[in-house]
Symmetry: C2
Subunit: 149 residues, 2 copies
């Protein structure tokens, strides 16, 4: 069976969110949360606009999805995010009991793997989906930012 | 010099927030953020009311203090919280570059120390201030909750 709804499809949606962040001068990271092939949250990083270190894409996605679901556990959900979650976001995912985490680019410096942050034991992890596209966007952002300063 | 503004004074304020959480059926954890002896944020856990795992006292305190300061770094701030922060909250504190963290009770199971979460290298940590009072409140909450179910 051919289905249009695979991990690449949803990661493209997360990348569109990352591009929207880029346009707004935010570090370009985007996320979507999916339940049974349906997107229930679309968010991107807003730390600059909101002046708030907690406004990462994943944090807003968790809040938004919980709001949609009317419950705080995301145990039937998949989170797609364009960059490996940090300690804070992985810690939030731990509490959410997320079913599945799919991320694109790795964050070798501050990603949850390097930092040793524990996800919930139920959470399955897939990495590397559209990693080059996501990393390229981040790289372009930091090059442009450096040239402006 | 005798000053009324010591760590015990501010932890009492955080405990008052924890008591307010208790009254509302929330796990009783409270927090305040202080700059030069002035409280700029008072918050407590709201995960039940908001149906949101990210609504820990510390997360809301960070957002609230950043809003007050008009900037996202808390490098002149002290956070007082009645329970040792979890991975998520410690991860948020890492990004905030908090100057000083003072917590009351330890969380041997899910606290950031046991979980190995890294704070910002600039953050000084003090623990155990009014620890018995904070732990007693949590214990009473869980006993009452168990008896209701």
């Amino acid at each position: 069976m051919i289905t249009p709804y695979d991990d690449t499809y949803f990661m493209k949606k997360a990348l569109q969110e990352a591009e929207a962040a880029f346009e707004q001068g935010e570090i370009p990271v985007g996320a979507v949360i999916v339940v049974r092939d349906r997107i229930i949250a679309r968010t991107h990083n807003l730390t600059e606009l909101l002046n708030d270190v907690t406004a990462h894409a994943e944090m807003q996605a968790i809040t938004s999805a919980s709001n949609f679901l009317g419950g705080k556990y995301l145990n039937n959900c998949t989170l797609y995010v364009t960059l490996e979650p940090c300690q804070m976001c992985a810690g939030a995912l731990y509490w959410s009991q997320l079913s599945r985490l799919v991320y694109a680019a790795s964050d070798e410096q501050r990603g949850f793997k390097r930092m040793g942050t524990k996800l919930h034991p139920k959470t399955k992890v897939v990495s590397g989906v559209l990693a080059d596209e996501a990393a390229e966007l981040l790289k372009r952002f930091f090059i442009e930012k450096r040239n402006l300063n």
